[in-house]
Amino acid sequence: MIKILFFALLIKPIVFIVLGLNLQGYKQLPLKGPAVVAANHNSHLDVLVLMSLYPLRRLKYVRPVAAADYFFQNKLWAWIATQCIDIIPIQRSGQSVDTVLAACHQVLESGQILILFPEGSRGQPEQLGQIKKGLFYLMQRHPHVPITPVFMRGLGKALPRGEALFVPFNCDVIIGEPLALSSDANAFITLIRHTFQTLSQRCLGQGVA
Protein backbone atom coordinates (compact mmCIF):
# COMPACT_ATOMS: atom_id res chain seq x y z
CA MET A 1 0.00 0.00 0.00
CA ILE A 2 2.78 2.44 0.91
CA LYS A 3 4.47 1.40 -2.32
CA ILE A 4 1.39 2.23 -4.41
CA LEU A 5 0.86 5.61 -2.72
CA PHE A 6 4.56 6.43 -3.01
CA PHE A 7 4.42 5.85 -6.77
CA ALA A 8 0.96 7.31 -7.40
CA LEU A 9 1.46 10.56 -5.50
CA LEU A 10 5.19 11.21 -5.68
CA ILE A 11 7.19 9.18 -8.16
CA LYS A 12 4.86 8.97 -11.17
CA PRO A 13 4.20 12.75 -11.21
CA ILE A 14 7.93 13.41 -10.96
CA VAL A 15 8.79 10.92 -13.67
CA PHE A 16 6.08 11.85 -16.16
CA ILE A 17 5.64 15.60 -15.54
CA VAL A 18 8.81 17.07 -14.08
CA LEU A 19 11.15 14.70 -15.87
CA GLY A 20 9.27 13.55 -18.99
CA LEU A 21 10.02 10.38 -20.91
CA ASN A 22 10.61 9.60 -24.53
CA LEU A 23 9.32 6.07 -24.33
CA GLN A 24 9.75 3.62 -27.20
CA GLY A 25 8.75 -0.05 -27.41
CA TYR A 26 6.34 0.04 -24.48
CA LYS A 27 4.56 -3.04 -25.84
CA GLN A 28 7.69 -5.08 -25.21
CA LEU A 29 7.62 -4.39 -21.48
CA PRO A 30 6.68 -7.63 -19.71
CA LEU A 31 3.61 -6.89 -17.61
CA LYS A 32 3.33 -10.43 -16.26
CA GLY A 33 6.00 -12.46 -14.53
CA PRO A 34 8.13 -14.36 -14.32
CA ALA A 35 10.25 -11.95 -16.31
CA VAL A 36 13.53 -10.09 -16.06
CA VAL A 37 13.99 -6.44 -17.05
CA ALA A 38 17.68 -5.74 -17.63
CA ALA A 39 18.59 -2.06 -17.96
CA ASN A 40 21.71 0.08 -18.09
CA HIS A 41 22.43 1.96 -14.88
CA ASN A 42 23.32 5.64 -14.46
CA SER A 43 21.27 7.05 -11.64
CA HIS A 44 19.11 6.30 -8.64
CA LEU A 45 16.24 7.44 -10.84
CA ASP A 46 16.64 4.38 -13.10
CA VAL A 47 14.73 2.06 -10.79
CA LEU A 48 12.01 4.64 -10.15
CA VAL A 49 11.53 5.31 -13.86
CA LEU A 50 11.36 1.61 -14.75
CA MET A 51 8.85 0.93 -11.98
CA SER A 52 6.76 3.95 -13.01
CA LEU A 53 6.20 2.33 -16.40
CA TYR A 54 4.04 -0.26 -14.67
CA PRO A 55 0.37 0.31 -13.90
CA LEU A 56 -0.20 0.77 -10.16
CA ARG A 57 -1.99 -2.53 -9.75
CA ARG A 58 0.99 -4.45 -11.19
CA LEU A 59 3.57 -2.67 -9.03
CA LYS A 60 3.28 -5.22 -6.26
CA TYR A 61 4.89 -7.84 -8.52
CA VAL A 62 7.76 -5.64 -9.69
CA ARG A 63 10.92 -6.10 -7.64
CA PRO A 64 14.22 -4.33 -8.28
CA VAL A 65 17.55 -5.75 -7.19
CA ALA A 66 19.64 -3.31 -5.18
CA ALA A 67 22.83 -3.34 -3.19
CA ALA A 68 22.17 -3.96 0.51
CA ASP A 69 25.49 -2.45 1.60
CA TYR A 70 24.49 0.85 -0.03
CA PHE A 71 20.81 1.19 0.79
CA PHE A 72 20.99 -0.02 4.37
CA GLN A 73 23.56 2.61 5.34
CA ASN A 74 21.02 4.80 7.08
CA LYS A 75 17.51 4.40 8.39
CA LEU A 76 15.68 6.69 5.99
CA TRP A 77 17.20 5.06 2.91
CA ALA A 78 16.50 1.62 4.36
CA TRP A 79 12.87 2.53 5.01
CA ILE A 80 12.35 3.88 1.50
CA ALA A 81 14.14 0.90 -0.03
CA THR A 82 12.13 -1.73 1.82
CA GLN A 83 8.73 -0.07 2.29
CA CYS A 84 8.30 2.21 -0.73
CA ILE A 85 10.30 0.42 -3.39
CA ASP A 86 10.40 -3.08 -1.98
CA ILE A 87 13.89 -3.95 -3.20
CA ILE A 88 15.57 -7.32 -3.19
CA PRO A 89 18.70 -6.56 -1.19
CA ILE A 90 21.89 -8.13 -2.52
CA GLN A 91 25.19 -8.29 -0.63
CA ARG A 92 27.80 -7.29 -3.15
CA SER A 93 30.78 -8.84 -1.38
CA GLY A 94 31.86 -11.75 0.75
CA GLN A 95 29.28 -14.31 -0.26
CA SER A 96 29.06 -17.17 -2.71
CA VAL A 97 27.23 -16.63 -5.98
CA ASP A 98 24.38 -18.90 -4.94
CA THR A 99 23.64 -17.11 -1.68
CA VAL A 100 23.70 -13.75 -3.44
CA LEU A 101 21.22 -14.90 -6.07
CA ALA A 102 18.95 -16.91 -3.76
CA ALA A 103 16.45 -14.09 -3.32
CA CYS A 104 16.30 -13.48 -7.08
CA HIS A 105 15.57 -17.14 -7.72
CA GLN A 106 12.76 -16.96 -5.25
CA VAL A 107 11.26 -13.89 -6.90
CA LEU A 108 11.30 -15.49 -10.34
CA GLU A 109 9.93 -18.77 -9.03
CA SER A 110 7.00 -16.93 -7.48
CA GLY A 111 6.18 -15.42 -10.87
CA GLN A 112 7.25 -11.82 -10.18
CA ILE A 113 9.11 -9.36 -12.37
CA LEU A 114 12.74 -8.77 -11.55
CA ILE A 115 14.42 -5.46 -12.44
CA LEU A 116 18.19 -5.57 -12.47
CA PHE A 117 21.19 -3.74 -13.83
CA PRO A 118 23.78 -6.01 -15.43
CA GLU A 119 26.45 -3.34 -14.92
CA GLY A 120 26.04 -3.72 -11.17
CA SER A 121 26.73 -0.11 -10.24
CA ARG A 122 25.88 3.31 -11.66
CA GLY A 123 29.43 4.03 -12.76
CA GLN A 124 30.39 7.12 -14.74
CA PRO A 125 27.44 9.35 -15.68
CA GLU A 126 25.87 8.41 -19.01
CA GLN A 127 28.49 5.80 -19.87
CA LEU A 128 28.01 2.09 -20.23
CA GLY A 129 30.12 0.32 -17.64
CA GLN A 130 31.52 -3.21 -17.50
CA ILE A 131 28.70 -5.75 -17.70
CA LYS A 132 28.87 -8.39 -14.97
CA LYS A 133 28.17 -12.09 -15.20
CA GLY A 134 25.52 -12.17 -12.46
CA LEU A 135 22.56 -12.11 -14.84
CA PHE A 136 24.00 -15.03 -16.80
CA TYR A 137 24.43 -17.18 -13.68
CA LEU A 138 20.96 -16.24 -12.48
CA MET A 139 19.31 -17.25 -15.73
CA GLN A 140 20.94 -20.68 -15.81
CA ARG A 141 18.18 -21.86 -13.53
CA HIS A 142 15.41 -20.06 -15.45
CA PRO A 143 16.19 -20.68 -19.13
CA HIS A 144 12.62 -19.94 -20.24
CA VAL A 145 12.12 -16.66 -18.41
CA PRO A 146 12.23 -13.76 -20.91
CA ILE A 147 14.94 -11.12 -20.43
CA THR A 148 13.80 -7.72 -21.71
CA PRO A 149 16.57 -5.20 -22.34
CA VAL A 150 15.92 -1.51 -21.61
CA PHE A 151 18.28 1.31 -22.51
CA MET A 152 17.89 4.65 -20.75
CA ARG A 153 19.62 7.94 -21.46
CA GLY A 154 19.42 11.28 -19.70
CA LEU A 155 18.84 10.14 -16.13
CA GLY A 156 22.57 10.37 -15.49
CA LYS A 157 22.25 14.06 -16.36
CA ALA A 158 19.15 14.55 -14.23
CA LEU A 159 20.64 12.98 -11.12
CA PRO A 160 24.15 11.58 -11.56
CA ARG A 161 26.07 9.63 -8.99
CA GLY A 162 27.24 11.73 -6.08
CA GLU A 163 24.94 14.68 -6.81
CA ALA A 164 21.99 15.75 -4.69
CA LEU A 165 20.58 18.44 -7.01
CA PHE A 166 17.88 17.07 -9.30
CA VAL A 167 17.76 18.85 -12.67
CA PRO A 168 14.88 17.92 -15.01
CA PHE A 169 15.70 16.58 -18.48
CA ASN A 170 13.55 14.51 -20.83
CA CYS A 171 14.86 10.98 -20.70
CA ASP A 172 14.92 8.28 -23.32
CA VAL A 173 13.60 4.87 -22.32
CA ILE A 174 13.98 2.37 -25.15
CA ILE A 175 12.59 -1.11 -24.55
CA GLY A 176 13.91 -3.88 -26.81
CA GLU A 177 12.80 -7.37 -27.72
CA PRO A 178 13.49 -10.21 -25.26
CA LEU A 179 17.02 -11.63 -25.42
CA ALA A 180 17.91 -15.25 -26.00
CA LEU A 181 20.16 -16.72 -23.33
CA SER A 182 23.58 -17.68 -24.71
CA SER A 183 25.35 -20.84 -23.63
CA ASP A 184 28.46 -18.97 -22.60
CA ALA A 185 28.80 -16.11 -20.12
CA ASN A 186 31.07 -13.97 -22.29
CA ALA A 187 28.89 -14.38 -25.34
CA PHE A 188 25.91 -13.30 -23.25
CA ILE A 189 27.73 -10.21 -21.99
CA THR A 190 28.65 -9.31 -25.56
CA LEU A 191 25.02 -9.76 -26.57
CA ILE A 192 23.79 -7.43 -23.81
CA ARG A 193 26.39 -4.80 -24.62
CA HIS A 194 25.55 -4.99 -28.30
CA THR A 195 21.80 -4.76 -27.58
CA PHE A 196 22.27 -1.67 -25.41
CA GLN A 197 24.31 -0.04 -28.15
CA THR A 198 21.66 -0.82 -30.78
CA LEU A 199 18.86 0.52 -28.58
CA SER A 200 20.88 3.65 -27.78
CA GLN A 201 20.78 4.67 -31.44
CA ARG A 202 17.03 5.27 -31.11
CA CYS A 203 17.52 7.87 -28.35
CA LEU A 204 16.51 11.48 -29.04
CA GLY A 205 18.65 12.90 -26.29
CA GLN A 206 22.38 13.39 -26.31
CA GLY A 207 24.88 11.84 -23.99
CA VAL A 208 27.06 14.21 -22.03
CA ALA A 209 29.54 16.14 -24.13
Binding site: G20, N22, G154, K157, E163, V167, F169, G205, V208
Partner: protein
Protein backbone atom coordinates in the same frame (compact mmCIF):
# COMPACT_ATOMS: atom_id res chain seq x y z
CA UNK B 1 -16.26 31.06 -18.52
CA UNK B 2 -18.61 33.88 -17.63
CA UNK B 3 -16.31 36.85 -17.65
CA UNK B 4 -14.84 36.24 -21.09
CA UNK B 5 -15.16 39.23 -23.46
CA UNK B 6 -17.86 38.44 -26.02
CA UNK B 7 -15.64 38.33 -29.14
CA UNK B 8 -13.13 36.11 -27.37
CA UNK B 9 -15.93 33.70 -26.49
CA UNK B 10 -17.18 33.64 -30.09
CA UNK B 11 -13.64 33.10 -31.35
CA UNK B 12 -13.30 30.11 -29.06
CA UNK B 13 -16.59 28.78 -30.43
CA UNK B 14 -15.29 29.19 -33.98
CA UNK B 15 -12.07 27.38 -33.20
CA UNK B 16 -13.93 24.50 -31.59
CA UNK B 17 -16.31 24.24 -34.55
CA UNK B 18 -13.38 24.19 -36.95
CA UNK B 19 -11.81 21.43 -34.92
CA UNK B 20 -15.09 19.54 -34.84
CA UNK B 21 -15.20 19.84 -38.63
CA UNK B 22 -11.66 18.48 -38.86
CA UNK B 23 -12.67 15.50 -36.70
CA UNK B 24 -15.69 14.78 -38.87
CA UNK B 25 -13.63 15.04 -42.04
CA UNK B 26 -11.03 12.63 -40.67
CA UNK B 27 -13.74 10.08 -39.84
CA UNK B 28 -15.35 10.51 -43.25
CA UNK B 29 -11.97 10.02 -44.94
CA UNK B 30 -11.45 6.80 -43.01
CA UNK B 31 -14.98 5.69 -43.91
CA UNK B 32 -14.49 6.43 -47.61
CA UNK B 33 -11.03 4.85 -47.73
CA UNK B 34 -11.03 2.02 -45.21
CA UNK B 35 -7.86 0.62 -46.82
CA UNK B 36 -5.81 3.73 -46.02
CA UNK B 37 -4.25 4.44 -42.67
CA UNK B 38 -5.38 7.72 -41.10
CA UNK B 39 -4.08 6.95 -37.61
CA UNK B 40 -1.50 9.74 -37.78
CA UNK B 41 -4.10 12.33 -38.84
CA UNK B 42 -6.51 11.19 -36.12
CA UNK B 43 -3.78 11.34 -33.50
CA UNK B 44 -2.93 14.84 -34.65
CA UNK B 45 -6.51 16.01 -34.38
CA UNK B 46 -7.11 14.36 -31.05
CA UNK B 47 -3.96 16.09 -29.73
CA UNK B 48 -5.38 19.37 -31.01
CA UNK B 49 -8.52 18.76 -28.94
CA UNK B 50 -6.39 18.26 -25.85
CA UNK B 51 -4.16 21.30 -26.45
CA UNK B 52 -7.01 23.63 -27.30
CA UNK B 53 -9.17 22.24 -24.50
CA UNK B 54 -6.51 22.86 -21.86
CA UNK B 55 -5.72 26.31 -23.29
CA UNK B 56 -9.35 27.45 -23.40
CA UNK B 57 -10.11 26.18 -19.91
CA UNK B 58 -7.07 28.00 -18.48
CA UNK B 59 -7.91 31.20 -20.41
CA UNK B 60 -11.52 31.06 -19.28
CA UNK B 61 -10.79 30.53 -15.57
CA UNK B 62 -8.53 33.51 -14.96
CA UNK B 63 -5.47 35.40 -16.11
CA UNK B 64 -3.46 33.70 -13.37
CA UNK B 65 -4.26 30.18 -14.52
CA UNK B 66 -3.41 31.21 -18.08
CA UNK B 67 -0.05 32.59 -16.90
CA UNK B 68 0.65 29.35 -15.03
CA UNK B 69 -0.16 27.40 -18.17
CA UNK B 70 2.21 29.49 -20.30
CA UNK B 71 4.94 29.19 -17.67
CA UNK B 72 4.47 25.42 -17.67
CA UNK B 73 4.63 25.37 -21.49
CA UNK B 74 7.87 27.35 -21.32
CA UNK B 75 9.23 24.82 -18.84
CA UNK B 76 8.32 21.86 -21.07
CA UNK B 77 9.85 23.55 -24.11
CA UNK B 78 13.04 24.57 -22.30
CA UNK B 79 13.42 21.08 -20.87
CA UNK B 80 12.92 19.55 -24.28
CA UNK B 81 15.55 21.87 -25.74
CA UNK B 82 18.09 21.03 -23.04
CA UNK B 83 17.38 17.33 -23.55
CA UNK B 84 18.22 17.18 -27.24
CA UNK B 85 21.27 19.47 -27.38
CA UNK B 86 24.72 18.34 -26.26
CA UNK B 87 25.46 19.77 -22.83
CA UNK B 88 28.30 19.05 -20.42
CA UNK B 89 27.69 17.41 -17.08
CA UNK B 90 29.13 20.57 -15.55
CA UNK B 91 26.23 22.57 -16.97
CA UNK B 92 23.62 20.95 -14.71
CA UNK B 93 23.65 23.74 -12.15
CA UNK B 94 23.52 26.41 -14.85
CA UNK B 95 20.57 24.64 -16.46
CA UNK B 96 18.89 24.59 -13.06
CA UNK B 97 19.27 28.38 -12.81
CA UNK B 98 17.85 28.75 -16.29
CA UNK B 99 14.75 26.86 -15.12
CA UNK B 100 14.45 29.24 -12.17
CA UNK B 101 14.20 32.13 -14.62
CA UNK B 102 10.78 30.80 -15.75
CA UNK B 103 8.72 31.55 -12.60
CA UNK B 104 10.46 34.93 -12.27
CA UNK B 105 9.82 35.93 -15.88
CA UNK B 106 6.13 35.03 -15.56
CA UNK B 107 5.97 36.81 -12.21
CA UNK B 108 7.09 40.04 -13.92
CA UNK B 109 4.35 39.41 -16.49
CA UNK B 110 1.81 38.80 -13.73
CA UNK B 111 2.53 42.05 -11.92
CA UNK B 112 2.66 43.91 -15.22
CA UNK B 113 6.22 45.19 -14.73
CA UNK B 114 6.92 45.79 -18.41
CA UNK B 115 10.45 47.16 -17.95
CA UNK B 116 11.60 44.08 -16.08
CA UNK B 117 9.73 41.66 -18.32
CA UNK B 118 11.45 43.06 -21.37
CA UNK B 119 15.04 43.01 -20.06
CA UNK B 120 15.14 40.23 -17.47
CA UNK B 121 16.28 37.42 -19.78
CA UNK B 122 18.16 39.45 -22.42
CA UNK B 123 20.13 41.35 -19.76
CA UNK B 124 20.15 39.83 -16.28
CA UNK B 125 19.90 36.15 -17.14
CA UNK B 126 22.27 36.71 -20.04
CA UNK B 127 24.90 38.16 -17.74
CA UNK B 128 24.28 35.87 -14.78
CA UNK B 129 24.44 32.43 -16.42
CA UNK B 130 28.06 32.72 -17.64
CA UNK B 131 28.99 34.03 -14.19
CA UNK B 132 27.60 30.85 -12.63
CA UNK B 133 29.54 28.87 -15.23
CA UNK B 134 32.74 30.64 -14.29
CA UNK B 135 32.21 29.70 -10.65
CA UNK B 136 31.92 26.03 -11.68
CA UNK B 137 35.22 26.56 -13.44
CA UNK B 138 35.17 24.20 -16.41
CA UNK B 139 36.37 26.14 -19.44
CA UNK B 140 36.40 23.34 -22.02
CA UNK B 141 33.26 23.86 -24.11
CA UNK B 142 32.40 27.08 -22.25
CA UNK B 143 31.37 29.15 -25.27
CA UNK B 144 29.13 26.46 -26.71
CA UNK B 145 27.33 25.82 -23.42
CA UNK B 146 26.86 29.51 -22.64
CA UNK B 147 25.44 30.04 -26.12
CA UNK B 148 23.10 27.07 -26.02
CA UNK B 149 21.70 27.76 -22.57
CA UNK B 150 20.95 31.40 -23.22
CA UNK B 151 19.60 30.86 -26.71
CA UNK B 152 17.25 28.17 -25.36
CA UNK B 153 16.04 30.50 -22.59
CA UNK B 154 15.40 33.30 -25.08
CA UNK B 155 13.38 31.12 -27.46
CA UNK B 156 11.35 29.11 -24.99
CA UNK B 157 10.92 31.48 -22.05
CA UNK B 158 11.42 35.03 -23.29
CA UNK B 159 9.65 34.66 -26.64
CA UNK B 160 6.76 32.54 -25.33
CA UNK B 161 6.19 34.89 -22.39
CA UNK B 162 5.19 37.58 -24.89
CA UNK B 163 2.00 35.63 -25.53
CA UNK B 164 1.28 35.81 -21.80
CA UNK B 165 1.98 39.55 -21.67
CA UNK B 166 -0.80 40.14 -24.22
CA UNK B 167 -3.18 39.25 -21.38
CA UNK B 168 -1.73 42.01 -19.19
CA UNK B 169 -1.75 44.87 -21.70
CA UNK B 170 -4.37 47.55 -20.98
CA UNK B 171 -7.60 46.69 -22.77
CA UNK B 172 -8.08 48.74 -25.94
CA UNK B 173 -10.72 46.58 -27.55
CA UNK B 174 -13.10 45.81 -24.69
CA UNK B 175 -15.12 43.30 -26.71
CA UNK B 176 -12.04 41.15 -27.29
CA UNK B 177 -9.80 41.92 -24.33
CA UNK B 178 -6.42 40.29 -23.71
CA UNK B 179 -7.86 36.84 -24.37
CA UNK B 180 -8.84 37.99 -27.87
CA UNK B 181 -5.23 38.98 -28.62
CA UNK B 182 -3.91 35.67 -27.34
CA UNK B 183 -6.38 33.66 -29.41
CA UNK B 184 -5.55 35.83 -32.42
CA UNK B 185 -1.79 35.28 -32.31
CA UNK B 186 -2.03 31.58 -31.44
CA UNK B 187 -4.51 30.73 -34.17
CA UNK B 188 -3.06 32.93 -36.88
CA UNK B 189 0.28 31.25 -36.20
CA UNK B 190 -1.11 27.72 -36.24
CA UNK B 191 -3.39 28.37 -39.23
CA UNK B 192 -0.38 29.77 -41.04
CA UNK B 193 1.48 26.49 -40.44
CA UNK B 194 -1.50 24.50 -41.62
CA UNK B 195 -2.26 26.62 -44.69
CA UNK B 196 1.41 26.67 -45.74
CA UNK B 197 1.38 22.90 -45.41
CA UNK B 198 -1.81 22.44 -47.41
CA UNK B 199 -0.83 24.94 -50.12
CA UNK B 200 2.55 23.22 -50.33
CA UNK B 201 0.89 19.82 -50.74
CA UNK B 202 -1.45 21.12 -53.44
CA UNK B 203 0.78 23.40 -55.48
CA UNK B 204 4.30 22.91 -54.12
CA UNK B 205 7.01 22.83 -56.78
CA UNK B 206 9.88 25.24 -56.17
CA UNK B 207 11.84 24.54 -53.02
CA UNK B 208 12.79 27.53 -50.85
CA UNK B 209 15.56 26.09 -48.69
CA UNK B 210 16.15 22.49 -49.76
CA UNK B 211 19.13 22.10 -47.44
CA UNK B 212 17.13 22.81 -44.29
CA UNK B 213 13.63 21.67 -45.05
CA UNK B 214 13.06 19.88 -48.35
CA UNK B 215 9.26 20.05 -48.00
CA UNK B 216 9.06 23.84 -47.90
CA UNK B 217 8.13 25.42 -51.21
CA UNK B 218 7.52 28.92 -52.50
CA UNK B 219 3.98 27.91 -53.43
CA UNK B 220 3.29 26.74 -49.88
CA UNK B 221 4.80 29.88 -48.37
CA UNK B 222 2.84 32.21 -50.65
CA UNK B 223 -0.36 30.21 -50.15
CA UNK B 224 0.00 30.63 -46.39
CA UNK B 225 0.91 34.29 -46.75
CA UNK B 226 -2.21 35.08 -48.82
CA UNK B 227 -4.54 33.06 -46.59
CA UNK B 228 -3.28 34.57 -43.35
CA UNK B 229 -3.11 38.13 -44.71
CA UNK B 230 -6.72 37.92 -45.82
CA UNK B 231 -7.88 36.23 -42.62
CA UNK B 232 -5.97 38.66 -40.44
CA UNK B 233 -7.40 41.67 -42.28
CA UNK B 234 -10.89 40.39 -41.55
CA UNK B 235 -10.37 39.14 -38.00
CA UNK B 236 -7.93 41.69 -36.51
CA UNK B 237 -10.44 44.55 -36.08
CA UNK B 238 -12.73 42.11 -34.30
CA UNK B 239 -10.21 40.40 -31.97
CA UNK B 240 -7.47 43.02 -31.52
CA UNK B 241 -7.09 46.81 -31.18
CA UNK B 242 -5.78 46.92 -34.78
CA UNK B 243 -7.79 48.23 -37.73
CA UNK B 244 -8.16 46.30 -41.00
CA UNK B 245 -5.04 47.80 -42.66
CA UNK B 246 -2.98 47.19 -39.59
CA UNK B 247 -4.44 43.69 -39.51
CA UNK B 248 -3.17 43.09 -43.04
CA UNK B 249 0.32 44.10 -41.85
CA UNK B 250 0.00 41.77 -38.89
CA UNK B 251 -0.96 38.91 -41.22
CA UNK B 252 2.11 39.44 -43.41
CA UNK B 253 4.30 39.70 -40.33
CA UNK B 254 2.88 36.54 -38.72
CA UNK B 255 3.08 34.52 -41.90
CA UNK B 256 6.73 35.43 -42.60
CA UNK B 257 7.83 35.15 -38.97
CA UNK B 258 6.02 31.84 -38.56
CA UNK B 259 7.84 30.45 -41.54
CA UNK B 260 11.20 31.56 -40.16
CA UNK B 261 10.51 30.09 -36.71
CA UNK B 262 9.58 26.81 -38.32
CA UNK B 263 12.78 26.55 -40.35
CA UNK B 264 14.97 27.72 -37.47
CA UNK B 265 13.81 24.80 -35.33
CA UNK B 266 14.08 22.54 -38.39
CA UNK B 267 17.72 23.57 -38.66
CA UNK B 268 18.27 22.75 -34.99
CA UNK B 269 16.79 19.29 -35.50
CA UNK B 270 18.75 18.75 -38.70
CA UNK B 271 21.95 19.70 -36.91
CA UNK B 272 21.19 17.10 -34.24
CA UNK B 273 20.04 14.56 -36.86
CA UNK B 274 16.64 14.00 -35.25
CA UNK B 275 13.21 14.20 -36.86
CA UNK B 276 11.08 15.30 -33.91
CA UNK B 277 12.22 17.17 -30.83
CA UNK B 278 10.29 14.87 -28.51
CA UNK B 279 7.32 12.56 -28.16
CA UNK B 280 5.17 14.65 -25.83
CA UNK B 281 2.31 15.38 -28.26
CA UNK B 282 1.06 12.32 -30.17
CA UNK B 283 0.97 13.00 -33.91
CA UNK B 284 2.89 16.28 -33.57
CA UNK B 285 6.22 15.23 -32.05
CA UNK B 286 7.65 17.32 -29.26
CA UNK B 287 6.46 20.60 -27.84
CA UNK B 288 9.17 22.52 -29.75
CA UNK B 289 7.75 21.11 -32.98
CA UNK B 290 4.47 22.82 -32.09
CA UNK B 291 5.90 26.06 -30.69
CA UNK B 292 8.54 26.65 -33.37
CA UNK B 293 6.59 29.27 -35.33
CA UNK B 294 5.12 30.88 -32.23
CA UNK B 295 8.58 31.62 -30.83
CA UNK B 296 9.05 34.02 -33.74
CA UNK B 297 5.53 35.32 -34.23
CA UNK B 298 4.75 36.09 -30.56
CA UNK B 299 7.39 38.77 -29.81
CA UNK B 300 7.12 40.33 -33.28
CA UNK B 301 3.33 40.56 -33.16
CA UNK B 302 3.51 41.82 -29.58
CA UNK B 303 5.79 44.74 -30.50
CA UNK B 304 3.84 45.47 -33.68
CA UNK B 305 0.68 45.89 -31.60
CA UNK B 306 2.52 47.65 -28.81
CA UNK B 307 3.88 50.22 -31.24
CA UNK B 308 0.64 50.80 -33.12
CA UNK B 309 -2.00 50.62 -30.41
CA UNK B 310 -0.46 51.24 -26.99
Amino acid sequence: MLNLPSHAGYAMGWVLSLLGLASIVSYLLQYRHPERDYTELKKRISSWWWMIGILFICLAISTTTALILFAFISFLALKEFFSIVPLRLHDRRVVFLAYLAIPLQYYWVGIGWYGMFIIFIPVYVFLLLPMRMVLIGETKGFIQSAGIIHWASMLTVYCISHVAYLLILPVKNPQAGGVGLVIFILFMTELNDISQYIAGKLFGKHKIIPKVSPNKTWEGFIGGLLTISLLSTLVAPWLTPLNAWQGLGAGVLISCAGFIGDVVISSVKRDLAIKDSGTLIPGHGGILDRLDSLMYTAPLFFHYCYYLAY
